[in-house]
């Protein structure tokens, strides 16, 4: 028989090695699958790399894909640190986009230096409120936050469907359910050819890192994550901390909504979040909730996505191949965590060990 024993001896380098091996294993497994479907896996992989790094333009596209993932992951990581399973990032992004779009569409005469800060604040507030609602019920009545936040995603999405085909529909779009394009005063300026959201992202990564690791509130959040009772005995106001942290978590996700409508799409559609909120949950988890690691993981995911879009145009291989490979990598990496934390020992061996110790 095989016994499972907790590992204590693994160095950081070894655990990184394990994860790399897992990714390699996933690529191998996905490669076999691609081969089976009649494509050359090496060509698919190479063209994916080419699609995300091959030119300055493609590299910029990869960064643009990474920005929303990183900021949402930062938001999610704050909630996850308290073991508050906020899986409502998708909805918080959508509501942030909704609020920002309101100003872009209906206060369209504002000068740009008023407009952008206003959109910024509105999106953060809307995302924060969307997270606060489930947080309130969790803190007050213990309502299951995983399921609550999940439902909030779909309500947010349907609200946008409603306005997109109803009150906010662009009359010039002739029957098609489309919202009008924003004016130039509602567009995020570009720095080095990428909307300024990337600078804000860098700043946010640093701020969240400092907040979690160097401030009192960050420490309190970590204590609540370890044990709510400990936090309570230590005299912390657990409810207040959960509520305020969730506003922060939702606000970060809300900002993503503004980045997308103002920096990328220049309009609002119900697909604005496009699954980012869900992917970000996975990237956050894989990054072990750590802000600097989040940047790396999210960038890798963005490369996969960007590469997937590219192989579709280059080889007419469906872009879903990227999603498939992404899924496989996830399985392998999630599975590899086990081998990082535990070790399999043959029972005979342990028996011998026990005998040895007894003797």
């Amino acid at each position: 028989m095989v016994r499972i024993v907790k590992r204590t001896d693994l160095t950081k380098r070894q655990s990184v090695m394990f994860r790399l091996l897992a990714i390699l294993g996933a690529l191998l497994a996905a490669g076999i699958f691609i081969l089976f479907l009649g494509f050359n896996p090496f060509r698919v992989y190479l063209s994916m790399l080419d699609g995300s790094f091959g030119s300055l333009y493609r590299f910029k596209e990869s960064i643009i894909q990474a920005i929303p993932l990183i900021v949402s992951s930062l938001g999610i990581s704050i909630a996850f640190r308290m073991k508050f399973w906020n899986i409502g990032a998708e909805g918080q992004i959508i509501m942030g986009a909704f609020a920002a779009s309101y100003f872009a569409l209906y206060w369209s005469n504002l000068p740009v230096y008023v407009m952008l800060p206003l959109m910024f604040l509105a999106s953060a507030a809307a995302g924060g409120i969307w997270a606060l609602i489930p947080a309130f019920f969790k803190a007050q009545f213990g309502t299951n936050e995983t399921l609550f936040t999940l439902m909030m995603n779909y309500i947010a999405q349907k609200i946008i469907v409603y306005v997109q085909y109803g009150p906010w529909k662009d009359p010039k779009a002739l029957g098609a359910g489309k919202i009008a394009l924003f004016g130039d005063n509602a567009a995020l300026p570009e720095v080095f050819g990428i909307h300024i959201g990337w600078i804000i992202t860098v700043v946010l990564v640093i701020l969240v890192y400092i907040f979690i690791n160097k401030t009192k509130r960050g420490y309190e959040i970590q204590v609540i994550g370890e044990s709510e009772n400990t936090a309570r005995y230590a005299g912390m106001n657990v409810k207040k901390i959960i509520l305020s942290s969730l506003i922060l978590s939702g606000a970060l996700c809300g900002l993503v909504g503004m980045f997308q409508v103002s920096g990328v799409n220049h309009t609002l559609s119900y697909q604005v979040a496009n699954g980012v909120g869900f992917t970000a949950i996975i990237t956050t988890w894989l990054a072990g909730l750590s802000a600097p690691v989040i940047v790396i993981v999210c960038f890798l995911f963005a490369v996969l996505q960007q590469g997937g879009t590219f192989i579709q145009t280059a080889f007419s291989i469906h872009s879903s191949a990227a999603q498939l490979i992404q899924g496989m990598i996830l399985f392998f990496v999630l599975g590899s965590e086990f081998f990082i934390q535990y070790r399999l020992v043959l029972k005979q061996k342990t028996d011998k060990l026990i005998k040895k110790e007894a003797a």
């Binding site: 499972i4 907790k6 479907l37 399973w85 899986i87 019920f137 009545f141 213990g142 309502t143 299951n144 995983t146 399921l147 609550f148 999940l150 439902m151 909030m152 779909y154 309500i155 349907k158 609200i159 469907v161 409603y162 085909y165 109803g166 869900f278 992917t279 949950i281 996975i282 988890w285 894989l286 469906h318 879903s320 191949a321 990227a322 999603q323 498939l324 490979i325 992404q326 899924g327 496989m328 996830l330 399985f331 999630l334 599975g335 965590e337 086990f338 934390q341 535990y342």
Partner: protein, 313 residues
């Protein structure tokens, strides 16, 4: 049209639209009752949809189509079970990964089938079959007893599952695993085995739900054929408070909501998006109410989503 005929029309549509929801919901109920929160329902449905459809397309055999869908759903569930039970990975993340994988898998495998339709022989085998006597009851007869074979299968599965959960020894054991795996382990129940078996059955039901969508609801292949119904099923499980009998009512009710906007178009103008919002809204209300009431009956399984490792105790 008279009021009665409109009502009959809507009810019939509700049951037809609610049946895939029912299968997926029953699948997720089994999974959650044994303590595992599998957010991969949408992924398993899509896997079942694409494999079921391609099997029915190539063999022309509807039974093989449904069976293939079941197996595909079970394969998805097996990945989830292996990750969360044997390898102890986080359930939420594993479930979401399964959905990403299943979505990609179905679009990739299905890319060459887009727009292709099933043979008439397959379609005809899912034509409504009127049950004698029962089918003649006004309103309810045509809605409930003049339906395709899988609708009837849905009734049977729901009742069997309810009896299994509440009236059998095995059902009691599996609920114990979901409520308190530590106690179940002490009582000599093989926690991991129970979880594996029930997750796999849950996956099979989700696979059937997906195959229903691709083979009956839309008998030609289209990308993302399940259209988010997997998530509605996750909501439904809560809405019906983990009860298979209520799952029938709930599924048909949510099924009705999904078609009401379309059916009422000529009479009152309420956009479909409003009806689409209601299931999630209603689910939140139920979620809040069960947390307020603190009655033991309707609450989520106590150990839902929590990992169980014997060594950690």
């Amino acid at each position: 049209m008279t009021f009665i005929s409109i009502l009959t029309f809507i009810l019939t549509g509700a049951v037809t639209a609610g049946t895939p929801l029912l299968f997926a919901t029953l699948g997720e109920i089994i999974t959650e009752k044994v303590g595992q929160l599998n957010l991969g329902v949408e992924g398993m449905m899509l896997m079942g949809a694409v494999i079921g459809f391609s099997a029915a397309l190539s063999t022309g055999n509807p039974v093989l189509g449904i069976l293939a869908g079941m197996i595909a759903g079970a394969c998805g569930a097996l990945i989830f079970a292996f990750l969360t039970i044997t390898l102890r990975a986080n359930q939420i993340v594993s479930g979401l990964s399964l959905t990403i994988f299943g979505t990609g898998f179905s679009s990739f495998v299905g890319q060459k089938m887009v727009g292709q339709g099933l043979a008439d022989s397959v379609r005809n085998s899912f034509a409504p079959v009127k049950l004698p006597l029962l089918g003649d009851i006004p309103v309810l007869g045509p809605a409930l007893f003049n339906q395709n074979v899988l609708v009837y299968a849905g009734y049977v599965v729901a009742v069997i599952l309810a009896i299994y959960l509440y009236k059998t020894r095995l059902g009691l054991n599996m609920r114990m695993v979901g409520e308190n795996p530590g106690a179940a382990d002490t009582a000599g129940i093989n926690v991991a085995l129970y979880k594996y078996v029930h997750i796999l059955i849950g996956g099979m039901l989700c696979g059937i739900a997906g195959a229903y969508m691709s083979m009956i609801t839309v008998p030609s292949w289209q990308d993302g054929v399940t259209g988010g119904r997997g998530w509605i099923a996750v909501a439904l499980v809560i809405f019906v408070t983990w009860n298979p009998y209520k799952a029938m009512l709930g599924s048909y009710f949510f099924g009705a909501l999904s078609i009401l906007g379309l059916y009422l178009q000529g009479y009152v103008h309420i956009p479909q998006s409003i009806f689409d919002m209601l299931p999630y809204f209603a689910t939140i209300i139920v979620l809040i109410m069960i947390s307020l009431k603190k009655s033991k009956e309707n609450n989520p399984p106590k150990a839902l989503g929590e990992p169980y490792f014997r060594e950690d105790r």
